[in-house]
C-alpha cells in the first residue's frame, strides 16, 4: 500500500516528541493539584466538583464540572475568577468558557444558587490542568479512482485557529468490508502554517475498490510546544465511505482489463448475487476468498507473462460465467543497437532492436518516440505489423544546417518505460543508396566514361567510390575514386588504362569520404572497349617449297592482347632491290601465303606481313627469303624431358635478332614445319612444349639464329619427347646354314615403327624340336637359351657357330631402344648333316651285326645236338608227355581245362552251384579282387566263366559238393528255384563267395559280404538249421521298413555296413526293395523277387 502525503508545512518531528514528554509530566501534576483542591472544598455532596478544562485552540478554555443531578436541577451558577478583571459568569449549565488565562494559578469560585441554599466551591485553575483537544475533523473530500484502486482523501487542518508552527500528527484509518475490518492505518505529521490548508492523502488498495465498501476516518494530535497542559487526540471524524463503481460500468468482476508487470500480485473479485462456484486464472483453478455477502476474491501471486489476448480470470456461478482479462507483460527493454545513419543526407534513419519481447501487443505494445534534443523535434513510431519482429526503424527529416544530432529514443508501454541515447555527426554516418543506371560511354580504345545515378543530396561531402573492373582474361581490378558530392544525383568519372577491344564488366559502390559503410554494389554493366590498331606484327616464318619455286610464308594469329580488335586481313609484301610487290589481301582465318620466287636465282627478298583490323594496321613483321648457309652441320639426337624437349645453345653475340626453333614430324614431307617458336637473342636455351607432341614419334628440330634479319640453321636435331619400345620385330632371314653354323641377316625397322633411337638387337637361339620352342617370353635366365646382344646397330648379319649338325634350332631376333625391347621374330632352322659322322654311324652297326651273326652261327653249329634235345626232341606219345602231365597237375581244379574235356550239357532251370576251392582262380582274376569292380564290363568278362559253371553235369557236382562240404563250416549246397527270367547270372566273385559262404547258409543277408564277427556267426549258427532249409526272405523283410537303413544293421549290429536307403544287391547294386509300394517286401510276390535278385548269393 502506498501512502501519498503532500506535506505543506514543515515537519518538526523532533520537537513534537520532546513536547509530548513534558506535557505528560504537567498533566500528572495538575491532576494531583485539582484533586487536593476538591478535597478541601467539595467534601459535601451536591457541590460542584471535578472541574475539567479543555481547549481546542489554546485561545479559549472550555471548563465543566460534575454536579449531582439533584442539585443540578434548577441551579444557577456564578463563576468568578478571583483577582481578575474578567467578569463573573452567570449560567445554568455546568460548564463555562473563558479566554485562556495566563500561566499562573487562578482561583475560580463557583457559587451554586439553588432552592435549598447556596454554596461556594473554589478551584485553583492553571494552564497545566487544561487539556488541548483539537476539534473534530471534517473530511473535506474523499474520492476513489477505481481504475487504479486508489483513494484520495482531502481534509482541512484548521491552521488559522491554531498556533503557527505547531506540529500536527494525523491518523487515518481505512476500513473495508461490511464488518469494517481495518484495511490500513496511516500516520502523517505536518506543521501548521497559521492558516487553513487542505491536506491530501492517497492510498492504493490491493483489492479493487469495487469489490467491497471502503470507509475512511481521520483524527489529529497537536503538539504545541508552548502549551504546558495536557494534549490529547481529537475525536475521529465521521466515517466517509466510497460508494460503488460508476453505474455505466456494469461489471461483475474487478479489476477490468488491467495491464500489469510480470511478477505482480493481484486480487480479483467478483460481485454477484448468486454464489460463485469456481474461479480460474488462465487455466489454473483458484481458491475463493469471501469478502462479504456478494463478493468473493482470488489472489494471484507472481503473475506470469500473458498470451497475446491476455489472461482470462473467470468466476463461474450456476447460471453464468463472469470474467475479466489481465495483461501481464514486461516493461520495454532498453532499445538495443540504436543506430542512426543517412542514406541521402535528407533523412536520418534510426534503427534499433527492441530487445526482450514485452509480451504485450496491440494497443498495449511499446510505443517509441524519437526525440532530438537540439531541435526539440520528435517522431513517433508507427507500428508496421508486417515487420513486427525485425529491427524497428524511424525516419527523422534532417534539419538544414544541422549536422550533430542528439537522439533519445523513448520506449514506453503500460507497465514501464526505458530510453536509449545516441549522439551522431550525420556526415560521418552516410550509407549511400545503391548506385543505379550505370552507363558507359567511349573516350578512346583504352578509356571510357562511367555514368551512374546516386540519389541523395551530397553537396556538402565528397564521395568515395569503388569501381570494380572485370575482364575474363586479366581478372578483377578495383579502383577507388573520390568524387565531389552533388545535389543532383548524376555522377560521371573517366576510367582509363583499359585494353582496347576487351569486354569489361563494371560495377560501382560508394561511401562518403569519411568512410562509414559501402553502399551495395550496383548492377553490373558489360562494355566492349573500342578497337585499337594491332600492337605488333604477327610472328612469321617462311619455308621454301620442295621444288624451290616458291616461298610459303606462315604467321601466327595475334593474341587478343596484341590484336586490339578483330583482325580482318593480312597484307603481304616482298621486295629485294627491286620494287616492292604486294600479294592480294588475305582474309583473317588464313595464316599462310605462297610467294612465287625461285630459290636458284639467289635473290634475297624481304617479306613483310602486316595484320589489319578496323582501327588500323600493325607494325610489319619481316623475314628474308634466304638463309645464311652453314657448312658444318651435324644431326644430333635428343630425348625429351617430361612434356617437352630442352635445348641448349651457346651464347653467340653475333646473333642479333632472335633464335627460332622449328620442328616437324620426321616423316612429314617438305616443307618440314609443324610449328616454330622464337626466343630472344640473349637466350641460351629453350624448352619446347607442344600439346601435340606424341611419345614414340620422331621429330626433327631445327635451331636457327638470326643475324641482320637473316636466319642461319645452327643445329639439326632428331628427337623424341619420349622413347617407346619398337612396335614391330626386325625382319630377318637365314642366309646360310652349315652343319655347325647359321648366318642370319636382318633388315632395318622403319623409323615410324622404331619409336625411339635403336640401341641394338637381341638374338636368341635354342636347340629343340620344331614347335617346341620356349624362347618366346623367356629371353633370359634359361641356360639352354643362348643370347647375343648386338649393340652395333649398323650390323645387319650374324653368324652363329659351334652348332650341331642336322639339329633343329629356334631363333629369335628383337630390336630395342631406350624405351624398351620390341617384339621378336622367331624362326626354326635345322643345321646341315655332318657327312663323316654319318659314315661312322652307318658302318659301326653293320660291323657289329655281322660279328654277332658269325658268332651265333658258330655256337649253334657246335651245340646243335643239345639244341635238338632241348627244343626239338623226337615226338613222343602225347599220353606220356611230361609236359602235359605237368600242365595237368598245375591246372587241376581249373574249370577251363576240366570243362574242355567235358561234353557240354544242356542247362536247365535247375541249377546246382558247386562250392569249390577258388585259390588258383584268385591268383588269376586279380582284377576282380576289388570290391567295387563289379561293373558291367567285368561282368561281361566273367561271363564265359559263369556259363561254364552253368554248364554243369550233375555227377561231377555231387563229388564237388561232398568235398566242399567238408571244407567249409556252415556252408552247404543250396538248390535255388528260379524262373527263366532269372537266368541272368550276376558275376560271381570268388572271395565274396567265400565270405558269403559263412552266412549264406543262414539265409539272405544283404550286407553280409562285409566282415562278419564271431558273435554274428554264433547267432547265425544257432539259426542255422532253420535258415539252411531254404532262403525265406519274407521272414526278415517283414521286419524292415522300406526306407530304414537300420533294419538290416539290426541283424548284424557289429558290421561296418554302410547304410543304404534300401537293401541293395551286392553285385548288381540294384535296389532290392523297389521304391514305394510297387513291390512291397510284404507282398507275396516279393518272395520271388528277392530270389531273383539274390540267387547268385547262396551259390555254394
Amino acid at each position: 500500500m502506498e501512502v501519498y502525503f503532500y506535506l505543506r508545512l514543515l515537519s518538526k518531528m523532533g520537537e513534537n516528541k520532546r513536547m509530548k514528554n513534558s506535557s505528560k509530566f504537567q498533566w500528572l501534576s495538575s491532576v494531583i493539584f485539582l484533586y487536593l483542591v476538591n478535597q478541601a472544598h467539595g467534601q459535601k455532596r451536591g457541590v460542584p466538583h471535578d472541574l475539567k478544562c479543555i481547549t481546542h485552540n489554546l485561545k479559549e478554555w472550555d471548563c465543566s464540572w460534575e454536579a449531582s443531578s439533584r442539585i443540578n436541577h434548577g441551579t444557577t451558577y456564578e463563576i468568578c475568577i478571583i483577582n481578575s478583571s474578567y467578569p463573573c459568569i452567570q449560567t445554568e449549565k455546568t460548564r463555562f468558557e473563558i479566554p485562556a488565562l495566563s500561566l499562573a494559578d487562578h482561583e475560580i469560585k463557583i457559587s451554586s444558587m439553588h432552592a435549598s441554599g447556596n454554596s461556594v466551591t473554589k478551584f485553583i485553575l492553571n494552564e497545566r490542568s487544561v487539556s488541548l483537544v483539537p476539534a473534530m475533523l471534517q473530511i473535506f473530500n474523499l474520492t476513489a479512482d477505481f481504475s487504479t484502486s486508489t483513494l484520495h482523501l482531502k481534509w482541512n487542518d484548521n491552521g488559522s485557529v491554531l498556533p503557527r508552527h505547531s506540529n500536527v500528527t494525523w491518523e487515518i484509518v481505512v476500513l473495508y468490508k461490511e464488518d469494517m475490518e481495518v484495511a490500513t492505518i496511516a500516520t502523517l505529521n505536518t506543521t501548521l502554517i497559521g492558516k487553513d490548508s487542505l491536506h491530501h492523502w492517497s492510498w492504493t488498495s490491493h483489492i479493487p475498490l469495487e469489490c467491497t465498501p471502503h470507509y475512511v476516518k481521520i483524527r489529529c494530535y497537536i503538539d504545541e510546544l508552548h502549551f504546558s497542559g495536557q494534549k490529547e487526540w481529537s475525536e475521529w471524524s465521521p466515517l466517509r465511505n466510497i460508494s460503488g463503481p460508476p453505474i455505466k460500468e456494469n461489471y461483475e468482476v474487478f479489476p477490468q482489463d488491467k495491464v500489469v508487470p510480470v511478477g505482480s500480485n493481484m486480487t480479483f473479485c467478483c460481485v454477484v448475487e448468486e454464489p460463485v462456484l469456481t474461479a480460474q486464472f488462465g487455466s489454473e483453478r483458484c481458491s475463493l476468498i469471501r469478502l462479504d455477502n456478494k463478493s468473493v476474491a482470488i489472489e494471484i501471486n507472481n503473475i506470469a507473462v500473458s498470451p497475446s489476448s491476455g489472461t482470462n480470470v473467470v468466476f463461474t456461478t450456476k447460471s453464468y460465467m463472469y470474467g475479466t482479462v489481465v495483461f501481464a507483460g514486461y516493461p520495454p527493454d532498453i532499445p538495443r543497437k540504436l543506430n542512426c545513419e543517412t542514406r541521402d543526407l535528407k533523412e536520418i534513419i534510426c534503427s534499433w532492436n527492441p530487445g526482450r519481447p514485452t509480451g504485450l501487443v496491440g494497443p498495449r505494445d511499446t510505443n517509441y518516440i524519437l526525440y532530438e534534443r537540439f531541435s526539440g523535434r520528435n517522431v513517433t513510431y508507427s507500428r508496421d505489423e508486417e515487420h513486427m519482429n525485425e529491427n524497428h526503424q524511424l525516419i527523422f527529416q534532417m534539419i538544414a544546417g544541422q549536422e550533430i544530432y542528439n537522439f533519445t529514443l523513448k520506449a514506453s508501454n503500460p507497465v514501464g518505460r526505458s530510453e536509449a541515447v545516441i549522439l551522431v555527426d550525420i556526415t560521418q554516418r552516410v550509407y549511400p543508396h545503391t548506385p543505379s543506371k550505370l552507363i558507359v560511354s567511349d573516350i578512346d580504345p583504352t578509356a571510357i566514361i562511367l555514368h551512374w545515378h546516386l540519389s541523395g543530396n551530397f553537396a556538402n561531402i565528397n564521395l568515395l567510390c569503388e569501381i570494380e573492373i572485370n575482364t575474363p582474361y586479366s581478372g578483377q581490378e578495383l579502383r577507388n575514386i573520390t568524387v565531389k558530392g552533388l545535389e543532383t544525383s548524376s555522377y560521371r568519372v573517366s576510367v582509363d588504362k583499359l585494353m582496347p577491344y576487351t569486354m569489361y564488366t563494371f560495377r560501382i559502390r560508394c561511401s562518403s569520404e569519411n568512410f562509414w559503410k559501402w553502399s551495395k554494389w550496383s548492377n553490373e554493366k558489360q562494355y566492349l572497349t573500342m578497337e585499337g590498331i594491332p600492337s605488333k606484327g604477327p610472328d612469321i616464318w617462311r619455308e621454301w617449297s620442295a621444288d624451290g619455286k616458291s616461298v610459303i610464308i606462315y604467321w601466327k594469329p595475334l593474341s587478343i592482347n596484341e590484336a586490339n580488335g578483330k583482325i580482318l586481313s593480312y597484307d603481304i609484301s616482298y621486295w629485294s632491290e627491286e620494287e616492292k610487290q604486294y600479294l592480294p589481301e588475305i582474309p583473317d582465318p588464313q595464316h599462310r601465303a605462297e610467294i612465287q620466287l625461285d630459290r636458284n636465282d639467289y635473290n634475297d627478298y624481304i617479306i613483310s606481313v602486316v595484320a589489319r583490323n578496323s582501327a588500323g594496321s600493325s607494325p610489319p613483321s619481316k623475314i628474308t627469303s634466304m638463309e645464311i648457309p652453314n657448312e658444318d652441320l651435324k644431326v644430333e639426337q635428343i630425348v625429351g624431358v617430361g612434356n617437352g624437349i630442352l635445348f641448349h645453345w651457346n651464347y653467340d653475340p653475333n646473333m642479333t635478332c632472335d633464335y627460332v626453333i622449328k620442328w616437324c614430324n620426321s616423316t612429314q614431307s617438305e616443307p618440314c614445319l609443324i610449328d616454330w617458336k622464337k626466343f630472344p637473342a640473349n637466350s641460351t636455351g629453350a624448352l619446347i612444349e607442344y600439346d601435340n607432341f606424341r611419345s614414340g614419334t620422331r621429330y626433327n628440330f631445327f635451331l636457327y639464329g638470326c643475324k641482320n634479319q637473316k636466319y642461319q640453321l645452327l643445329r639439326s636435331v632428331v628427337g623424341y619427347t619420349e622413347e617407346l619400345a619398337p612396335s614391330v620385330a626386325p625382319n630377318f632371314t637365314v642366309e646360310d646354314t652349315s652343319a655347325d653354323s647359321i648366318l642370319v641377316k636382318w633388315e632395318d625397322i622403319p623409323v615410324e615403327d622404331l619409336r625411339g633411337f635403336l640401341r641394338g638387337y637381341l638374338f636368341y637361339f635354342e636347340k629343340g624340336e620344331k614347335g617346341t620352342s620356349k624362347i618366346q617370353g623367356l629371353e633370359s635366365g634359361r641356360s639352354d637359351v643362348k643370347v647375343k646382344n648386338i649393340t652395333d646397330i649398323t650390323q645387319k648379319t650374324l653368324r652363329i657357330v659351334d652348332l650341331q649338325g642336322k639339329t633343329g634350332y629356334h631363333l629369335l631376333l628383337q630390336a630395342y631402344t631406350d624405351g624398351g625391347i620390341g617384339p621378336g621374330k622367331a624362326m626354326y632352322v635345322v643345321t646341315k648333316e655332318n657327312s663323316e659322322g654319318l659314315i661312322i654311324a652307318i658302318l659301326i652297326p653293320v660291323a657289329v651285326a655281322v660279328f654277332v651273326g658269325v658268332v651265333t652261327s658258330i655256337l649253334c653249329y657246335r651245340k646243335r645236338e643239345w639244341i635238338k634235345e632241348t627244343f626239338y626232341p623226337d615226338i613222343p606219345n602225347p599220353e606220356n608227355s611230361k609236359a602235359l602231365q605237368f600242365h595237368k597237375s598245375i591246372c587241376e581244379g581249373s574249370s577251363t581245362l576240366k570243362t574242355l574235356e567235358m561234353n557240354p550239357c544242356t542247362p536247365n532251370n535247375v541249377e546246382v552251384v558247386e562250392t569249390r576251392s577258388a585259390a588258383p582262380k584268385i591268383e588269376e582274376d586279380t582284377e576282380i579282387k576289388s570290391p567295387v569292380a563289379d561293373g558291367p564290363e567285368e561282368g561281361s568278362d566273367a561271363e564265359p566263366e559263369n556259363h561254364v559253371v552253368v554248364s554243369y553235369c550233375p555227377p561231377i557236382i555231387e563229388e564237388e559238393i561232398a568235398s566242399a562240404g567238408g571244407e567249409e563250416a556252415g556252408g552247404s549246397s543250396q538248390v535255388i528255384y528260379i524262373d527263366i527270367q532269372s537266368m541272368y547270372q550276376p558275376q560271381a566273385k570268388p572271395e565274396e563267395e567265400l565270405e558269403n559262404n559263412s552266412v549264406g547258409g543262414a539265409g539272405y543277408k544283404p550286407q553280409m559280404h562285409l566282415p562278419v564277427t564271431s558273435a554274428v556267426e554264433d547267432m547265425i549258427a544257432a539259426d542255422g538249421l532253420e535258415k539252411a532249409a531254404g532262403y525265406r526272405p519274407q521272414t526278415h523283410v517283414t521286419a524292415w521298413t522300406l526306407d530304414s537303413p537300420d533294419s538290416p544293421r539290426s541283424i548284424d549290429s557289429n558290421s561296418e555296413t554302410v547304410s543304404f536307403g534300401s537293401p541293395c544287391s551286392v553285385n548288381s547294386r540294384q535296389f532290392l526293395i523297389p521304391p514305394k509300394d510297387e513291390e512291397s517286401p510284404k507282398s507275396s510276390n516279393g518272395g520271388w523277387s528277392f530270389t531273383h535278385f539274390f540267387q547268385n548269393k547262396p551259390n555254394d
Binding site: 461489471y251 477490468q256 480460474q280 482470462n312 475479466t324 501487443v361 496491440g362 494497443p363 505489423e385
Partner: protein
C-alpha cells in the same frame, strides 16, 4: 453487392444458388468458432468449451420452436435470415476489430473472420435477391450494434466474439434448412 439488375432471375435459380452458398458456408462455419476459441486463452480454448448461456441482445438467436419455424411464410422466412446475416456481418466486423487489437499476430483468425464476414454479406445479397423475386420488400439495413462496440471490456469482447462466431454457425445451419425448405417448394 446485390444481383445485377435487369437480368430477370427466376426464383428457383435464386433459391438454388443461395442454397448452394449456404451449404458451402456451413462447411466452414464450425472451423471459424474453433479457430476463434483457440486464440482466446483458457477457458475459451479448453477442449469442449461451450457457454450457451452467453447471448448477445443485439443478435437474435437462430433457434426457434419447430412449429413456429415451420409455419413461417416464405417471405418472412427469408427476411429473418436476411436480417440475421445483416446483423452477423456487422458483428463479424466488430469481432475482427477486437481481434486485431487482441491478437494482431494471428493472421489465420483474422483472415477467417474477414472471409466469414464477406460470405455473410454474400448470402445476404443472395437472399435479398430471392426476397425481391418473391415480391416482398427487402428490409432496410439497420444498425444492430447500437452502443455495444464502445466501452466493452476485453472479456466482454471475447465473449461477444464467441457468440458471434457461434451464432454464425447456427444461422448458417438455419439458412441451409430454410433454403432447403424453399428449394423443395420452388425448385423442381
Amino acid at each position: 453487392a446485390p444481383f445485377v439488375l435487369g437480368a430477370p432471375v427466376s426464383l428457383a435459380d435464386s433459391i438454388n444458388r443461395t442454397y448452394n452458398l449456404a451449404l458451402y458456408m456451413q462447411k466452414n462455419s464450425s472451423v471459424l468458432v474453433q479457430t476463434y476459441l483457440q486464440y482466446q486463452g483458457s477457458p475459451f480454448s479448453d477442449p469442449g468449451f461451450s457457454a450457451p448461456e452467453i447471448q448477445l441482445s443485439s443478435l437474435a438467436p437462430a433457434a426457434v420452436p419447430f412449429t413456429l419455424w415451420r409455419s413461417l411464410g416464405d417471405g418472412e422466412r427469408l427476411v429473418q435470415v436476411h436480417r440475421a446475416f445483416s446483423a452477423l456481418a456487422q458483428h463479424l466486423q466488430l469481432v475482427s476489430d477486437d481481434q486485431a487489437d487482441l491478437n494482431p499476430g494471428s493472421s489465420v483468425l483474422l483472415s477467417q473472420l474477414a472471409a466469414a464476414r464477406l460470405r455473410a454479406q454474400g448470402l445476404m445479397s443472395n437472399i435479398a435477391c430471392a426476397i425481391t423475386v418473391l415480391g416482398v420488400s427487402v428490409p432496410p439495413e439497420m444498425d444492430t450494434l447500437g452502443p455495444a462496440p464502445f466501452g466493452a471490456s476485453v472479456f466482454q469482447r471475447k465473449c461477444r466474439g464467441y457468440v458471434v462466431t457461434r451464432e454464425y454457425g447456427h444461422w448458417t445451419d438455419r439458412a441451409v434448412r430454410d433454403l432447403a425448405l424453399l428449394k423443395a417448394k420452388y425448385v423442381a
